[in-house]
Structures are given as C-alpha cells and as structure tokens.
C-alpha cells in the first residue's frame, strides 16, 4: 500500500471504537480482542515474555487474515480498512521487536548469525 493511501484513511478518528459494521462480524472480532484477553491488545509491554509476544503476534495475524478476507468482498468498508491498517502496523512493530530478540520469523528478516535454522519448527510443539 502506498503512503498516500495510508494518509487518506481516517483511521485515527474512526478505527478504535464502536466497530459494528452492518452485516459483518468485524464487531465481534474487535470485541474478542478487547474483552477476552488484554494481552492481545498490542503494544506488548517491555517485559513481555517470548510466549506472550508470540501469542500476540498470532492474534494480530489472525485479525489481519480475517479482515483481508472480509475486505476482499467488502472493499469499501472504511471501518474494516482502518482496523486492518491498525493491526498491520502493530504486527510490523511487534514482529520487528520479536525477531530482534528471538530470531527470524520469515526469510526476509536479516540477521548476522543464521538463526533461521534454529529449532523448534512450528510443527514441533514449541510456542510457535
């Protein structure tokens, strides 16, 4: 997404509260984050554990995944678009912070030592 498109989105004004779009489950999605688990709300505290961070990364990614599918069929829903932008920003910040400490989550994250091969892999039952 270009910077201009980002600027045109009125996220700051509309995104955070009262996400009840008509005919959507976006409201439910937002409630899920807010009510069920404060740890999911982003801006991980500085002393967050690896487990808390990866949990939050999964939560944010799921939000992005769900909003992406929703926006594919509702591209003009501004509230959903704003929420998508918000989660993407939080996801980027948090994955940057996580990868600096615990190693890369994708091959596009550069590191001085080749940590990509470190176990466990996701299927091996670690926290990933």
């Amino acid at each position: 997404m270009s910077e201009n498109e980002n600027k045109n989105c009125s996220c700051e004004k509309k995104a955070t509260n009262n996400m009840e779009s008509e005919n959507t489950n976006i409201g439910a999605l937002n409630n899920m984050w807010v009510k069920d688990d404060d740890a999911c709300l982003c801006n991980c505290k500085d002393n967050a554990t690896q487990e808390e961070m990866i949990h939050q990364i999964k939560c944010l990614f799921f939000g992005i995944q769900e909003l992406t599918l929703y926006l594919d069929t509702h591209p003009n829903d501004e509230k959903a678009l704003c929420l998508h932008n918000k989660y993407c920003k939080e996801y980027r910040e948090l994955t940057d912070k996580y990868q600096k400490i615990y190693g890369p989550l994708t091959m596009t994250y550069p590191c001085n030592k080749w940590r990509w091969i470190e176990e466990p892999w996701p299927w091996e039952g670690g926290m990933n």
């Binding site: 990364i57 599918l69 039952g125």
Partner: protein, 198 residues
Amino acid sequence: MWTYNKVLEYPINIKKKDPRLAKFIISQYGGPDGELAASLRYLSQRFGMPDQTSKAILNDIGTEELAHLEMVGTIVHQLTKDASIEEIEKVGLGDYYTDHGVDVYPVSAAGNPFTAAYIACKGDPIANLQEDLAAEQKARATYEKLIDLCRDNPDVLDPLKFLREREVVHFQRFGEALRKVQDKLGDKNFYMNDCGQR
C-alpha cells in the same frame, strides 16, 4: 509467490500421543474434503475467475488453506511421533506404517492416497464457486465428526474447533464472491463460455 511464516496459524501443543486419533484426523490432510484438496482447488481455480473479488478471495482463502494443511499435519505428527510399534499396530496403523513409518503422508482416513480427482476446475466460475461452497460445508461436517471422535482430548479439540470455524467464514466469503460474479454475468449478457477469455 509465497514466503513461509515460522509460526502456526493457531497454536498446537498435544501433550499426550494418541495414534488412534491421528488415523482419523489425517483425512483432513489428504482426504476428499481435506486441506490439501482445498488449497489446490482454490489456487488452481483462481486463474479462471472473472472479477477482482473472486480472484482475490480464491487466492487468499487458498493461501489460508495451506496454513491449515500445516496445522493438520502438525496434529498428526504430534499424535504419532513417540508411538510404539505395539500402539501403532493396535489402532490399525500397521498398513500405514509399512509404507510411511510415522511420516505424514496425504491419505484419507480409509487409507486412500490423495488424488486430484477430489477437486474440480470446470472452466466455469459459477460451477467452480458452487463447488467451493459445497467443499467448505463438507469440510465443516468432517471437522464436526472429528470433534465427536476426539471429544476426550482437549489439546486436539481446540485446534479442530478453530479449523471448523474457518470453514464457516470461508463459506460466507465464497457466497459473497458468487453473488458478485452472478451480478457481473447478469449485467451485460455475459455468456459463461467466455469467462476464461475476459
């Protein structure tokens, strides 16, 4: 193209091995309504879609299905990895073990190997999207049967419930995409035989 994210879409940590459940659950890996069939179906059908919405939705749901394939494979792997030969034989996995050991191989619960005959690409967006709607319902129904069978193992139940919910959401999105394609086709006397060319 794709890049790998070194995380599961939803956490899976199965504390107690149970090869009996793996024998059932592997159907969602390589069975007729499994995640391999789902991902291949959508990612192959996307090439012939006529509008923005249906191209995007098939691409994006097809991609999510690959993450689900990984989840199902992970469940099977964790349920079987430390099983003894006796346990494997006892639950009827001796045949599977003969050819595959405890690798994760795409077969149905009945042991039939994966085949592309499970999916369709009809060269017709309406027919394809209708197939996709049915596929999501069949996958949901399969997960519900697996949830019945796995009722005593919460570590397995939890990701199965997540996967079932995703089928419901995908069904919803495919329905919306189908409606848009139908509107487009109705709009300008659009003959379905031309879909691939426009």
